[in-house]
């Protein structure tokens, strides 16, 4: 039953997309079909999470017959000549992101209820995007993952490009080209897998000597690890692949210096699309790092820790400064995404358990808070028709209920304790300081290891922590400029222009989740802990040394 659910999650949206196209000249029906699809998928996800939460142990599905934490697996041979499988399943790494995606999908279709231009095409493309997103989070075969990664790219291109703002075409093509460069890096790694995997792994991972793209088996197989660590003396295959994958996923996250597509895309995209872009699509990058890069290339990950950590810290600080400099409200929120996703990169880079948990939680928390922030901006933009921060003021007086919810959203983004932005940041920073111990005792090929390495780590940590203050700075300053001050007549709305029930519903649900996740972060952390212990086993010795 649960196996069927997993496949339904992937293919129901596709069915819905076709359904949306069928009714002629009936946008209302298309909307309903999209909403029903999203709600059904949400219910399926909840049911899946329910049994996932309740069950212990996993289904054995490794070709070698070993146990793994992955459950509800469907494994079909798709393309026999290159041994590509349709392999999907759920583990702790995917379950919270699936829930996040399905909740956001319902809210975003609600947020997009007033899209009048080509409604049919909008809903249909959105459902195709949904298909791609669920596929990315459920695929366990590298090739299948790649396909879904690409599938999510095309609808996004059209959604930005058709329904976007004045410079939509520029933004859409920039988004497309950046992401495509990332895809080509992925493709090169795939070529490498094709030739290297059957090489050494004759038995376990590669059944019958065929190449294997099974991501779980690749991470678990020792022969594969040996194959990847061949190559040059210093430049092993693993390092090349790690770097290529990192570029690909860092574009998606996005991390500085690959981030420049993001502000353009966000500013031009319509509100619902900004929400899904920040809420879920960016997480695909972080998820892919956790699912592919770190488990499959543990040695390269240790070697690269410093480089990756620098990218994370620079993203945090640079993103925050950029956000502070903006006068366009939406651009400010967009840069805040760059800054917040930096914690994900940093938390992963330091290879401690707290860091990993923080990175993961930050993805979920940011998924809620950024989607909410974009919606909050969108609600005002639809009425004021501009986003210039310096022209706003006094919204607290004219729209009190809206401002109350806005406070929750923006303070969640700020990282206030008891809201969803806080646990991720703090765990990620704790993990960074906790990394001192393993790095001091690490072998010499790990950069900045040995005695005296604590200064390096502490410097990184201090810079990263300064991001928290910078974030508080730009968010409070923005809040002050927009919401405080005397009431202004041009921002006083009445009648049809009042914030309506649909918008309150979206904001309230997001605010509710922001509070739940902030008060009870364990709901996410419990789900992922088993999986992290299993697939990050190569790092577990490091983690225990760090004391978390």
């Amino acid at each position: 039953m649960n196996e069927l659910f997993v496949n339904l999650i992937i293919f129901l949206p596709l069915l819905g997309a076709v359904g949306c196209l069928l009714p002629r000249d009936n946008p209302a029906l298309s909307r309903m079909i999209a909403m029903v699809t999203a709600v059904v998928v949400l219910l399926i996800n909840v049911a899946l999470a329910w049994s996932f939460y309740g069950e212990a142990g996993g289904t054995s599905y490794l070709p070698s017959g070993g146990e793994s934490v992955v459950r509800y697996v469907t494994d079909l041979v798709w393309i026999e000549s290159v041994n590509i499988h349709y392999l999907v399943g759920v583990d702790g790494l995917s379950m919270p992101l699936l829930l996040l995606t399905s909740i956001l999908n319902v809210l975003i279709i609600a947020a997009g209820w007033n899209v009048e231009k080509h409604t049919k095409a909008f809903m249909s493309l959105y459902l195709v995007l949904m298909f791609g997103m669920y596929g990315v989070f459920l695929a366990l075969d590298f090739f299948l993952f790649y396909v879904f990664f690409e599938v999510s790219l095309l609808p996004m291109y059209f959604l930005i490009g058709i329904w976007g703002g004045p410079r939509k075409e520029y933004a859409a093509i920039k988004f497309f080209i950046y992401t495509l460069v990332g895809s080509i890096c992925l493709l090169m790694v795939m070529l490498g897998f094709y030739f290297l995997v059957p090489d050494v792994a004759t038995g376990a991972a590669a059944a019958g000597g065929k190449p294997s793209f099974n991501m779980i088996a690749l991470a678990a197989d020792e022969g594969v690890q040996q194959a990847f660590n061949h190559g040059g003396q210093f430049w092993t295959y693993a390092k090349w692949f790690f770097i290529l994958l990192f570029i690909s996923f860092a574009i998606k996250v996005p991390a500085v210096p690959f981030h420049t597509w993001l502000p353009d895309a966000h500013v031009e995209a319509p509100t619902p699309i900004s929400m899904i872009l920040a809420g879920v699509l960016l997480k695909m990058g972080g998820y892919a790092l956790m699912r592919i890069s770190y488990p499959i290339f543990p040695d390269a990950a240790k070697w690269a820790w410093f480089g990756v950590a620098i990218v994370g810290v620079v993203s945090i600080v640079y993103g925050a400064f950029c956000a502070m400099a903006q006068t366009d409200w939406k651009k400010l929120v967009a840069y805040s995404s760059v800054s917040h996703m930096g914690y994900v990169i940093l938390g992963l880079a330091v290879l401690t358990e707290a860091g990993r948990n923080g990175a993961y939680f930050q993805m979920i928390g940011h998924g809620i808070s950024s989607a909410m922030m974009f919606f909050l901006v969108g609600v005002v933009y639809e009425r004021a028709h501009h986003r210039d921060l310096n022209r706003f003021g006094g919204l607290w007086n004219t729209m009190p209920a809206y401002t109350g919810l806005a406070a929750v959203g923006f303070f969640a983004g700020l990282g206030l304790p008891l809201l969803c932005g806080f646990p991720g940041e703090v765990l990620s920073l704790m993990g960074t300081f906790g990394a001192i111990e393993w790095i001091e005792n690490a072998p010499s090929w790990v950069p900045f290891s040995g005695a005296g390495s604590s200064a390096t780590v502490i410097t990184l940590g201090v810079f990263a922590a300064s991001g928290v203050i910078l974030t508080a700075g730009y968010i409070l300053w923005m809040f002050q400029r927009v919401y405080m001050g005397p009431a202004r007549p041009e921002y006083t709305y009445s009648g049809r222009d009042m914030v309506n029930g649909r918008e309150y519903f979206v904001m309230a649900v997001l605010a509710l989740f922001a509070i739940i996740l902030g008060v009870w972060p364990a709901v996410v952390l419990d789900m992922i802990s088993n999986t992290f212990n299993a697939i990050y086993a190569p790092f577990s010795s490091l983690a225990s040394a760090a004391g978390f």
Partner: protein
């Protein structure tokens, strides 16, 4: 040597004979008084004749492959070493004839009106004799035959390019085509005469053997150079590609479609056969050094061609010119892979390369057919071939717009479409041979090509059309576009069937008797050295 016609060998040329018979009928029928009036009344009977001949050719090729009715694939070359009728040649012929059939359908539903009824017989006989020449190119194993086949394919093409006598562009294109073609033919003939003078034969096999025994020679160099010019002309390889955009723009759209796939399929098959034979009969260090040199040169020509095609396509505003440059780029990819054939010899897996090419040809036929079919419908309905006519196609005919998007993305190489697998197969083979620079060139070129394949899509979606009248099309055109769409996705979503077919039919007459023993030897060798060198070959899998 006695000249006689062994019937069993002649029967293996049944596909060509079907086409030849139809050409004769089309030429003779108009002068017979009872038929004359019928032919003057409509194009219908001639279209039916062409379709029947092409279907008969395809069926007879399938019959030979499957061994129906006492036919069989001959074990050696036929007609005194002139032609090879092997699975590779037959499958290329099937591709060419099926494609020509669809081109005829395309013609009868879009541009047929522009051909005068009195010219109908000429037109049909030219198309069929062009297809005949292309089929012969896939089979030729003697350089005299190579020359004849290339000319047999070229002359009808020259006439077809200028068939629209009323338009200046068409005549100009035709003249340009003839002049460049004549120069290429002359150079090729000169090179071949050098080969004959040096080796005393024009048979491919003895020349390959002499090359292995004697090594490099001036005659060989000149000969190969001339040959590459001749084949490169048909493939529109840089720097003899200049005819291609002009001819594609000037010729009527179905002729452009025909030239872009059928003609190139024949030429690439010929190139593959020559390279493979040269490599197959050559052994020894000296010979393999020469062959790697030739292979690298061919690969380089491919890289330059692909890059040139992709970059020049950026500035095109005419859909046919855009697709012309795209076809130059794709010819470049195929030439790159053909270069691998001689470089691959010592690795014992040339058939894997041939099979990648065959698979690519199948995919390429589908996606180019689709793109040109959509372009033909739009051109017919709007009366112009400018890219601007695609403006707002999404609103005017959503099916056409979506289909065109799929074809363009497949040409680019998007996953889930056949074009992706075609390119990935190429990448696999190149990496397997250790030709890193070809892999890099392929990837860089693919990135380059993104922009101009997106350009029509951008126009279709974002530009406002001048008129919002819905575009209509004949049911047969729906069928053609649907067939192409199915082909693109069938090879993209479940490529196993097509790759298996291509793999089964990638054997050639020279490799047939030895291929099994060799593959087995290769397999053993690979398995024993797997731990040491770390490559499990395609044959091994």
């Amino acid at each position: 040597m006695t000249i006689g016609l062994p019937w069993s060998e002649v029967l293996t040329l049944l596909p060509e004979l079907c086409l030849l018979a139809a050409v004769c009928v089309a030429l003779v029928a108009p002068v017979l008084p009872p038929l004359r009036a019928t032919l003057r009344a409509s194009h219908g009977p001639l279209t039916a004749l062409a379709a029947a001949a092409l279907i008969a050719a395809v069926l007879s090729a399938i019959a030979i492959l499957a061994g129906w009715g006492g036919l069989s694939v001959p074990e050696s070359t036929v007609l005194h070493g002139m032609l090879a009728v092997d699975p590779f040649a037959l499958s290329v012929k099937i591709i060419i004839c099926l494609f020509t059939l669809l081109v005829i359908v395309l013609w009868s539903n879009t541009t047929r009106g522009s051909v005068r009824l009195a010219d109908g017989p000429d037109y049909v006989s030219l198309v069929l004799s062009g297809a005949l020449g292309m089929c012969l190119m896939a089979s030729a194993t003697n350089f005299l035959m190579v020359f004849l086949a290339i000319e047999a394919a070229s002359f009808p093409s020259y006439a077809l390019a200028g068939f629209n006598k009323q338009t200046r562009r068409s005549s100009e294109a035709s003249l340009k085509y003839v002049l460049i073609g004549a120069a290429a033919s002359a150079l090729m003939l000169y090179g071949l005469s050098m080969l004959y003078g040096y080796y005393g034969t024009l048979d491919l096999v003895p020349i390959a053997e002499r090359l292995a025994a004697e090594g490099m020679s001036a005659g060989l160099l000149m000969g190969v150079f001339g040959l590459l010019i001749g084949i490169g002309f048909k493939l529109s390889a840089v720097p003899i590609h200049f005819w291609c955009p002009d001819v594609f723009e000037g010729a009527s759209i179905e002729i452009t479609t025909f030239l872009s796939v059928a003609s190139k399929a024949g030429a690439i098959a010929l190139l593959v056969r020559i390279m493979m034979t040269l490599g197959h009969f050559s052994a020894g260090e000296e010979a393999s050094r020469i062959l790697v040199g030739i292979g690298s040169f061919v690969g380089l020509v491919g890289v330059v061609t692909a890059t040139w095609g992709n970059l020049a396509a950026y500035f095109q505003t005419n859909v046919k010119r855009l697709l012309a440059y795209s076809s130059i780029a794709h010819a470049g990819y195929m030439i790159m892979l053909a270069g691998l054939l001689t470089a691959a010899m010592d690795r014992a897996q040339p058939t894997a390369v041939a099979y990648a090419l065959l698979f690519y040809l199948i995919v390429y036929a589908f996606m180019n057919l689709g793109a040109f079919a959509v372009a033909a419908v739009v051109a017919k309905e709007t009366g112009s071939e400018s890219l601007d006519e695609f403006a707002g196609l999404g609103q005017r005919n959503a099916f056409l717009a979506v289909a065109m998007g799929c074809f363009l993305l497949s040409l680019f190489g998007m996953p889930l479409t056949g074009g992706f697998w075609g390119k990935v197969r190429f990448g696999f083979e190149m990496w397997d041979e250790g030709m890193w620079w070809l892999v890099v060139a392929l990837i860089v070129n693919t990135v380059f090509s993104l922009y101009f394949y997106l350009k029509p899509i951008i126009i279709m979606v974002w530009k406002q059309p001048e008129s919002s009248r819905a575009l209509t099309m004949a049911p047969a055109m729906y069928a053609v576009v649907l067939i192409a769409l199915l082909g693109v996705f069938a090879t993209g979503l479940a490529p196993d069937r097509a790759t298996a077919w291509a793999q089964r039919h990638s054997t050639m007459v020279f490799t047939m008797p030895v291929v099994e023993a060799e593959a087995q030897a290769g397999l053993d060798e690979v398995q024993s050295s797997a731990a040491a060198t770390g490559i499990v070959s395609e044959a091994g899998r």
